[in-house]
Symmetry: C4
């Protein structure tokens, strides 16, 4: 084993694994660095703070970006199949976490997008070995994936509804001098979305009697509509939960071969045979 | 078979079927045309764009309307029982999609209602052969239909509530000079709907202590109330889902009599026997 | 049977029963009168309409009130145990439906409360013999009754939360010159309710950084909190639905073997056999 | 038994138990005192009332604080293991209920925090012996505890989403002269939370087309997102309810006396002994 390979393996162990003390220290340090760097960018956007600590924040930001860039290059260097890492979910996130800083000279304000670094925090579960949380996260994402088709159908129906209601509202209340703010169909559709999702900013709101009547109908519909995704997710979550539990309960008794034992069972609850 | 009939059959195949290459091309082209025409109308409602591209947009709109009119007439011509198509759901939608443009000279602003064309997009599932999406859509609509009676009872109760609360609020806060905007009972009912559905624009809001107290009670009630349709839909969705799965499991193999085959299966997946 | 009793029985049949043609006609007429009278009061509250049709609306209102008063007296006269009717739910509603008109000379604006007449519309299900709707309504109300204890516990917890958060917010943002509108603790509690129920008028909103941070925490909590009543009602609705299906399907008549008897039935409703 | 111990036991019985008439009277009196004292503080925050009854309210507040302080000291004196009480949930609440009044001379406005006394009202269930309510409360809290892991994962995902969307919005609409109010990233994140939870104050709202489009996407996502906690809590509530019903049949093994067996178990799953 050449010296170069030895170093590469060591680097890989520290950066990618979380089992050795060095690897764990690296991961915890990384999480702290991510949170700190996002904090720095947030604080920089506050006028009072920016004016007082302009250079300090600037420096901190560049140091963090340098650190993350080195880390990104080390990841590519130490991994066996670099292109697999580069195009993986975390590889792309790691790149996006440093890109905005380099785009700053070309695209004004782009550095604020480094807050995309928060996505890197999702590694937290792996680092802290929160196995239960990982499982629960999988249950949720399995339920969401299973309900994808239903949610898509539902969203297309909602989209059709808001386009039509938005247009009718524009005909009723619209015009350049619209008191309610319905200055164009896209804006009226924006209002319909604000209303049907029950957000209700109030920046655009009907003022005519007919407009308010239509608006009331849309709200009542929104009532029923909001029930649909909730119902869908509930059903799928129940399903995903059951599948999880079923997956954990597959041990069958060697004596009577009946299934359905709890995880902590040592003896068959039907015949008393040892599992 | 006369020449006329032959043409009619060919037209029918292209317009109504999506299995032949020509039919599929027609359907995809139609979807693009629908989206484009809705886009044109939306853009036309934006002042800046309308002023710059007035004639282009006008032309585009008339071309799309002409296209859809020709298509509508061809549909009536090629179908065997025209009156059945005309009074079907899609027949009415197809007519509504062209009517507003022709009403434009008589009713100002009516052309914006051509966004009702988006309803025609619901054909998308048929064109793209998204069978799973169609099934999921049926599950949702079956659940909604099954919960119709409960939802109706619920809506009548909510309606009674908002009428009474709206009136009480008018007595408390109302009057021509109402600071909160409660200028009439219909408007107060509108406020009650905005509140109970948790939309909360804030264009009408109580300012007196008593009004705010009543308002708080209504919100807390709205809390419990919003739970009801969600619960109803959840229960019915679970039911519809079960029925769907049962529907997939009813055929038993005549050879090995095992169940659980998909609907489109021709042979038993366990023993290979013909179903 | 005296003449007086005969008349009384006849009046009772018309007013209280909905099976005879006269009784049905009376009930339908009553529903129309209720809706019309509520409409009249609503229209009267609209300034433009009130100024134009002042005397007509006034007349219509008094005629409706006279009609309902006569009807109320006839109900008391014709029923066998008047005090039982007077203190029943519908008896109280019938009285409340005419009281506000008579209180008008003493309490300004009280006549608008006659919209409480809409509660009388709940009779609609009985009149139209919408048996299924009645059953569904019972399922909902049974579910709500079953979840009463849980909902009460939940509401007490929410109340405690809004009182404490409202007070903290008053300490943070409050004072007579509060920019956000937090002028007193009761008003701050009102804001907390508006926020936690996700209504969000925006008439009172935090302006300081600390206030917005606390506000954000409250919203995130409101997120989880709104899930609780929904979950409770879903669970109880499932239960009530099951009980309905079980309750209507379990006992079959030993004589005619038909099913669908109520739980408290002792005899078959089809053949009269003892269950 | 010394005289001192006798007194201490008697005090303990009155203050901590609710079974004797004296104990019950004390608890009811305490609840009334808590509600009254919170009312006094609320009224004091209302300018008009404070100006008129300044000294009366001040007196009432000091009397209540004195009462609660004496009660707190008596609790410590009469309980056998004072440190256990002091660091228990109710011990800390009891201390927090009197602390703000004493901090008043040092921290302005801190006395309004005595509304934390409302937490003491949670004792109400114990006093009124509302056993069913206590059980229902346990079902809810068990469900919430069981869904803790899922809710945490969900909240981390929502947090990541609002940080990223808030930053993007700041880049789109932000700046010191932002018309929509997006003056800094923390404020933009506050807006994202207000939007995704469907509260929608409207104090900060996008005005540009791009901003409104992004906002609409966030709302639609918020739609799906709000369904997740509801689904989670529904599932866990069903589970907790089932466990409660099952728990009413708790059999403990006669051999190893461990509990937690299923209803259909015939043998202990831990030691194999017959149940």
């Amino acid at each position: 084993m050449s010296r170069a390979k030895e170093i590469r393996d060591r680097v890989h162990e520290i950066i990618f694994e979380a089992d050795t003390p060095a690897g764990k220290a690296f991961d915890v340090g990384l999480l702290i660095a991510i949170v700190s760097s996002v904090m720095v960018v947030m604080l920089e956007s506050v006028k009072e703070i920016r004016e007082q600590f302009a250079s300090e924040l600037q420096w901190a930001e560049w140091i963090f970006t340098a650190l993350f860039t080195v880390e990104y290059l080390l990841r590519i260097y130490s991994v066996q199949k670099p292109h697999k890492y580069i195009f993986s979910f975390y590889g792309i996130v790691d790149l996006l976490a440093i890109l905005p800083s380099f785009l700053q000279p070309f695209v004004a304000g782009s550095r604020y997008l480094v807050t995309i670094r928060t996505l890197r925090l999702l590694r937290i579960f792996r680092v802290l070995k929160l196995a239960n949380y990982v499982v629960q996260g999988q249950v949720i994402s399995r339920a969401l994936r299973a309900s994808r088709a239903k949610i898509t159908v539902f969203l297309i129906a909602v989209m059709t509804l808001v386009v039509i209601v938005g247009s009718i509202m524009y005909v009723i209340e619209g015009g350049e001098e619209s008191q309610g703010g319905f200055t164009s169909i896209p804006r009226s559709i924006y209002w319909a979305i604000v209303t049907v999702t029950t957000v209700g900013y109030g920046d655009i709101a009907p003022v005519s009697d007919l407009g308010q009547a239509l608006s009331a109908v849309l709200m009542i519909m929104g009532y029923g509509i909001i029930a649909v995704p909730t119902g869908i997710v509930s059903v799928e979550l129940t399903q995903a939960q059951k599948e999880l539990e079923a997956g954990l309960n597959t041990i069958s008794c060697p004596v009577c071969s009946r299934e359905g034992h709890d995880n902590d069972a040592t003896f068959c609850k039907y015949c008393g045979g040892e599992l």
